[in-house]
Structure formats: structure tokens, C-alpha cells
Symmetry: C2
Subunit: 364 residues, 2 copies
Amino acid sequence: MKLTRRDFARLGAATALSKALPLRAQAKSEGRKLRWCIVGLGRISMGQFMPGLPLSKTGKVTALVSGHRGKAEQQATVYGVRPSAIYSYDDFDRIRHNDEIDAVYIALPNSMHAEYTIRAAQAGKHVLCEKPMATSLADCKAMIEACRKANVKLMIAYRCQYHPSHLKAIELIRTGAVGQVQAIDSAFGFNIRPGEWRLNKKMAGGGPLVDVGIYCLNASRYLTGENPQDLKAYASVIDHDGRFAQVEESDGWTMKFPSGIVASCSTSYGAMMNGYFRVHASKGWIYMDGFNYSGMHLTALLANGQTIDQPDPIAAPRQFTAEADYFADCVRNNREPKTDGAEGLRDMTAISRIYESAGLRLGA
Amino acid sequence: MKLTRRDFARLGAATALSKALPLRAQAKSEGRKLRWCIVGLGRISMGQFMPGLPLSKTGKVTALVSGHRGKAEQQATVYGVRPSAIYSYDDFDRIRHNDEIDAVYIALPNSMHAEYTIRAAQAGKHVLCEKPMATSLADCKAMIEACRKANVKLMIAYRCQYHPSHLKAIELIRTGAVGQVQAIDSAFGFNIRPGEWRLNKKMAGGGPLVDVGIYCLNASRYLTGENPQDLKAYASVIDHDGRFAQVEESDGWTMKFPSGIVASCSTSYGAMMNGYFRVHASKGWIYMDGFNYSGMHLTALLANGQTIDQPDPIAAPRQFTAEADYFADCVRNNREPKTDGAEGLRDMTAISRIYESAGLRLGA
């Protein structure tokens, strides 16, 4: 039986206490898990998302989509997926006939996000799509429209927005614990190996900005709770070693938010650029060391003199567990995810403007 | 007897080993100190520069200029300055008749730097002037010209360029120890008290950018060894509490250097913004925590896998000792200081462009 949004809503209504119970308790009381079809068997799905699901009571893998049958069969054994629930990209649309799929997790090269989100929506499945949402604003809008029309949830996998330390940073700002925020600095990047699809403009839509710089952009937005009013940027290529024939190597940009907060960010595919954000406020500061799958370290000085020094409270792959739990809750309770298609589109709109300011453009 | 540049040169020639000897040994062998006239008795001169001189063998305070006779007399007692060598701003030009003054240290509000540098030069005294060099590019040029004409040295007090940890960071970059630099992030600011002259546009020439943001700009320049080819900026005022009626509260800006390196910087008078710079390179990174008078902490990861974790090797006020030693060496050996007037002008030119990009302007 396929568990629809309405089923979840009914279950919710039948359980008077459901809203007061923690998510795992709810899932347990309901005895029903969100059944995931994993689209794309790469590093993030095999190393993080799928290992994260068994740690949750809300979800399980019931189907796989891959271009490599052997790899899919191996993963199917690990997660107890029926051989009949292994799909190729060609027969992907057959997932509509599989009632044991509630949602898809799309972990494909960026340029494929739109197509597979739309096809999944048309198959009546909810969609959790990796960031960046797509490689064009038109694609983002088509994804939103397709999911709206099919009445399925669309969430963009901004895992940091479900990480307790990032949520803590947001809370410190919203409650005034550090006073008025004036400025934010953020960076994220890495030294990329030749040959990655990320260096192919058609597949990636852009360089480090769409891949890792997007963390700095998104953090600046969720920390301020605002969208950049204006932004200015530079892009550059220093290493002429063949890697950057199609996409930029580094970007530096600054943004001004409606409140007056300024944010200065960097991203690179040519540097060992540990991810971080730093919030400079009138009565304190917040520093997050890391945007990685683990090891996010939060330190802060608060207005009341208190200091915070909090190592990452969750180990990999629990960031993905938290994200999957949240999505399951949205489906079950028919709630719009906070990182919905509109949120993804806001980032991609800003990225498009950053590229424009730097003399480049988003997309192929 | 006034010790002139020629005297120093003669002494140098007379001491065959002088060039091979460390500066202090030289000074000792020469038995002659650079005699300083301190212009402006504020926090930096009384708390840092003057206390730094007794730690050096190259300099001593022999004259004071202040608008407060009582304060000057008190400091004169501490440093053994003759009462006849205490000047007011009105009779400042009389320093030309004091042969016991070789150089002046100018620690006045920014708008007075040009006037007192030029008057000191005309009095035949070498000049060490605090940053920012002046409040207009025209003033910077006039200062350079006056010192050139008078054949005296002009150095801008960029103390970080004489700090061993900053020099170490520069060396790591120049020797390729971290690979190719791609990006630099830097910030510096503080939450300013109402009533400071720094908030008066006529006296300061600008807001946090000219006062503390200049550290980020200067660091980006000495780390890269380049001048920004292009830059883009925002300025903002968030706190409408009367402090920012004349100058901006915060600035965020990004720069692109000829090599392609991008730098993203922030400064603020409204935030607890600990100074730092972070160098993102292909095979490692460098992080300097602090631009303050003490506590600069250098950490780095090098291409060879080695890490550096170096607390500040010099305590306050030794940054000023190092700066004064360097200047004395330039005077003695008739060498142009590396942070000469041209260096100060380069920063002020960039600052003028940053303000222009942000819709503001440098100066009253």
C-alpha cells in the first residue's frame, strides 16, 4: 500500500497526542515509515543519506535508481531492497507503479535535478532534492510547478538548516543573545580533482559557487532571516591546469541585506577552504567551524558574558537522519518544508545575480 | 647635537661590521639612539609607543607635543624629557630649533596627520605617522612631497608589517609553503563608544574602514604582494542611536587582485569584531587571529603536512618597539621604509575607491 499524504493526515488525526510527541515516538506509534527511492548512487547517497535512514524511525530505503545495476544490487542487499525495486534512468517512470515508494531522494548531478524532480512528481512521489536546486531559474520554477500540480512535497536538501548547531546559531540571533548583527563572513571550498562532473558547466551549472559557496549564501540568509537586497562579486581562474576550462575557480562576493547587515563570502575549487561562518554582532559573536558532514563546532560569546563551546553534537551520518526525519514529518503532517522549492529558488536567484555581477552566468 | 641622516651614514661607514650586526648590536656599537618627539599624548602613544621605546636600544623620547601641559609634564617625568622640550600645538614649529629631536611620532586624529607631518618635515625631522595616513589623497601626496623636499624619512605606522607572525605569514606565502593563494578573508572592528573623535567625519575622514578596516585591506595587500585591481563595496548604518550621524557603521567589500586572488573583508564600529585574516591556498591555509597590540595567534597547515600553532611571540608594547627599531634602522642606513608614504597612499587610494563603490566618499 502506498501511504499518501492523506493517509498520513488521517493517522495524525487518529493520534490525539501526535503533535505533542517527538517525531520518533510518533513514527513508532504510527508504525509506518516513509519509504524512500534513492535516485543516484554516489558518495552522498551511499556514504551519508542511506546510512542515515536506519538511525531513524521515520524512513527506510525501498527502491533504488542507478545506471550501474551491479552497484544497485549490492546496495539493495545492504538495505533489503527487492530486486524488482531497482530502476535504471530509462525506466525511472515505472516508479509510479510501485506503491512501496512514498518519496524520492535525488542525488544526481545538478543538471539532472529538474528532470528527475518533475518525473518523480508526475509519478506521484514526494521529492527531497539535493542542492543546488537546479542549473537555471526556469528549471527551479518548473520543479515547483510540477510538485504543486502533483500535490507532492518538494524539499531542497539544505542539511545545515536541520543541524542542531546551526539552529542554535539562528536562535541566538533571533533571541537577541548576541545583540544586533552587523556583519557575517563565510567561506567554503576545496581543491577539486580533475575529471569531476562538477567541472562540467553543462552538468554543474557553475563552479564552486553553486556547489559549496551556496552554503555561505544560504547561511547568510538563514542567519539574517533576510534575502540579499544587493550583491557584488568577482570570479577568477588562477590555475590554468585544465580544470577550469568551463567553470570559475574562485568567487568572492559581498551582499547587503535590507536591515543593513553586510555579508562577505568566498568560495573556491582551488583552495583548502575549510567551511565556516562568523557572525559579528553588537554584543557578541558566533563562529561556526565547518559545513561538513561532521565536526561542526560552534563557539560564541553572548551579551551576558556567557561563552559557548559546543563540539558537533551529532556524528555523521546523522545530519541526513535529521533531514530525512524532518521531511517525513512534513509529509505526514502535510506541512510545507522550510527549505521548499521557493527557498531553493531564492538561493539560485541570488547565485544568478552573483554570477551576473562577476561577468558570468548561471547554467550551461 | 642633532644626529642627521649623514651622521648615521658616517657612523655606518665607520663601523665595518654594521651591516652584518643585528640592529640592537649596531645601536649599541654606535652608542647613539634615535631621539623621538611624541606628537599627541593619547592611548596609543602613552599606552604603547612610548612604553615600547625603553625596550629598544635604538630610540628614546626626548620631546613631547600636547595640548595638555599637565599631562605632558607627567609623561616628561616618566621618560626623562626636559621641561623645555614640551611643546604645544601652537609652538610646534619650534621643534626645528631642538637638536635633540631626530624624528617625530604622529599619533593625532587623522585629519591632523598631514599638517603635522608637513610641519615636522619643514622642521627637518623624520616622520613616523600613524595610520590612516590622512583624510584625503591630496593630503597624502602633500605629505610625501614635503618629506621628499626636506630630505627626511616618512613612514606610516603599519605595525603589523613589522610583527614577526605577520612576517611569517608573508614568508609562508612567498616560499610556496601553502601553495597558490586563492582567497583571503579578513575582518576587524569594535563597538564604538559615543563621543569619540573617530565618529567625527571631519577629524576621521571616514568610519571603521579608515580606522580598522584598513588592517584588512593592508593585510590583503601585504599577503598577496599586490594592489587590488578592482573592488566593490557596501556601507551601512543599522544603529540609529546618534553615533553614526557622520560616518558609516559597517562596510563589507570584496577585491580582486591582478593574480586573480579574491579578498572578502568586513569592518564595523557596531560589532565585537575580533580582527583576523584567513588565507585559503591550494595546499594549505594560514589563519591569523588578531590585529591587536597583543595576542596575535598564527595557525597554519602547510603543503608538507606540517602545522603551525604559534601564540604571539611578542607581548605588548613590543610591536611598537619593533616598528621604532625598523624606523631607526631606515634613518641610520638611509633606507626607504617599506611602509613609506607611497604605501600609505596606496591604501588610501583603495579606501577612496571602496567608499566610492559604497556610495560614500573619503574625507570631510
